[in-house]
């Protein structure tokens, strides 16, 4: 019974952790998109530079969400 409960807690913990990680990354990437769109609206000629930096930053932010997913998997597996 307790062993069963322990497994359930591990699965729930992994899922909640991945979900919280996704929340943070979602807020971050939303901010990046907002900033990029505003910047492009103000300076359409700087489109290429802004896009390159936007994708780079989004990739870095997204990395944290992916770490959360991997750690979530580990929490379920162990």
């Amino acid at each position: 019974m307790y062993l069963f409960l322990l497994d359930a807690v591990a699965v729930a913990g992994g899922a909640i952790g991945a979900g919280l990680g996704a929340c943070g990354a979602g807020i971050g990437i939303g901010q990046i998109g907002k900033g990029a769109v505003e910047a492009i609206a103000r300076q359409p000629e700087a489109l290429n530079d802004i896009r390159a930096n936007m994708i780079l930053t989004a990739a870095l932010v997204e990395g944290t969400a992916l770490f959360a997913i991997v750690i979530g998997f580990l929490a379920i597996g162990k």
């Binding site: 990437i29 998109g33 489109l47 290429n48 896009r51 390159a52 994708i55 780079l56 989004a58 990739a59 870095l60 997204e62 990395g63 969400a65 992916l66 770490f67 997913i69 991997v70 597996g77 162990k78």
Partner: protein
């Protein structure tokens, strides 16, 4: 990972080009002959399409196990498995391409045979057995230590022999698919290079398959290498192009149904990240190391800064590894989960299963197209971040030059 569908032009151009990758140069047809030859040659190596038989009695109907299906698709295996069907005789048949199994154990030495000898885990062969989910339950093995699809040594009576250590160096489907993708890439690139050497596309307009690759190569040069690496970009461009196209072709080949998930394998991405790490380390200069071991901060903060900076050397390639691995794995899992949803609901109630399938299939097609975009994007991001890190490693050298300007 599904965020990048902003309709910006260069990506859309690349996006529109993707069908061409699978039928390169369909306009003038010069290449299509050799492409066919190559594909036939590659697949005829493993052409024994085996319809193996399931010799046992049909068990009572099991509920659909989505976990097993999903992990069976994304993990490595000893065969390419396409589909299973129930024949007229009521037995289950599998359509697979078997691959060679190469094993080494200190007691028994090397042994090599085709994976079809296992008959999908139903038979043992020369003292080895392929683990299935039933065997793990039957032999009461620790499921965290033994995986489905693993090869273990067995005794004469068919019981597991845990004392014999088995090193599996087989040509698994990841390895075989990577070799196929690599030979495809080398062949296309050498064909293009030969044309440029002859002068085609240098003074005149590029022809045929050159049109497909020239914009991508110039994109990597102008948008990835030049802004990050400055005047040293020519030295690193071959590496960046290699890594970009190698990841790209493996991503795209991995999206074809029935193939393996090579870029979603952590060993593969780890090796790529390790090579990037070595390149970054070899391009570092003394300013880079000075910033790590003696950062220009007040002395009291140094004990905190130095360990963080040292850790920072290793987290960069680690993040590269996790990013590519998790992106590709997550994409495949989402597609497979959406497909599995039909069968999970169908097992509970047939009508619900039929009702949900149009929506599920529509979503799968949508995600699949996003995955094609992600395939390009991840190759771009890996090359881009490698270029950024290389640039950081020797940045301070031309820092002063910039100041003068």
């Amino acid at each position: 990972m599904l965020i990048f569908h902003f309709p910006f032009s260069p990506f859309l151009e690349v996006f529109h080009l993707c069908p061409l990758i699978f039928a390169p140069n369909f306009r003038n047809g010069m290449i299509s002959g050799p492409v066919k030859c190559l594909l036939v040659a590659a697949f005829s190596l493993f052409s024994t399409f085996i319809f193996a038989q399931d010799g046992q009695q049909k068990e009572p109907k099991k509920l659909f196990d989505a976990n097993e299906v999903i992990f069976g698709h994304i993990m490595d295996a000893h065969e390419f498995h396409f589909f299973s069907y129930k024949g007229n005789d009521g037995e289950e048949h599998h359509a697979t391409i078997p691959l060679p199994v190469i094993l080494y154990s200190p007691r028994r030495g090397f042994s090599m045979f085709m994976s079809s000898e296992f008959h999908h885990g139903k038979h043992n062969y020369s003292g080895y057995s392929l683990l299935t989910s039933e065997k793990i339950v039957e032999w009461k093995l620790n499921p965290k230590k033994y995986n489905i699809g693993q090869v273990v040594a067995v005794k004469e009576n068919g019981e597991i022999d845990a004392a014999v250590k088995v090193y599996d160096v087989s040509l698994t489907r990841n390895v075989v698919q990577m070799i196929i993708a690599l030979s495809l890439l080398v062949w296309i690139m050498l064909a293009i290079a030969k044309r440029y050497n002859k002068g085609e596309g240098v003074a005149s307009a590029p022809k045929g398959v050159q049109n497909l690759f020239e914009p991508v190569i110039t994109f990597v040069r102008d948008d990835v290498a030049k802004p990050n690496l400055g005047n040293k970009y020519e030295k690193y461009l071959p590496y960046l192009l290699t890594i970009f196209f190698f990841i790209l072709i493996n991503n795209l080949v991995g999206l074809i149904p029935g193939t393996a998930n090579v870029t979603g394998n952590i060993a593969f991405t780890m090796l790529l990240a390790l090579i990037s790490f070595i390149v970054i380390m070899f391009s570092s200069n003394k300013h880079f190391w000075k910033h790590i071991f003696w950062p220009p901060v007040p002395h009291g903060v140094k004990p905190i800064f130095i360990p963080v900076e040292i850790l920072g050397i290793f987290t960069k390639p680690f993040a590269l590894m996790i990013r590519l691995f998790a992106n590709m794995l997550a994409g495949h899992i989402i597609i497979l989960s959406l497909v599995s949803l039909i069968f999970i609901l169908g097992a509970a109630n047939k009508i619900v299963g039929y009702a949900v399938s149009p929506f599920s299939i529509a979503f799968v097609v949508f995600i699949y197209f996003i995955e094609i975009l992600v395939a390009f994007l991840q190759a771009y991001i890996f090359a881009m971040l490698t270029a950024v890190f290389i640039g950081q490693a020797y940045e301070s050298e031309h820092h002063e030059e910039k100041m003068h300007i």
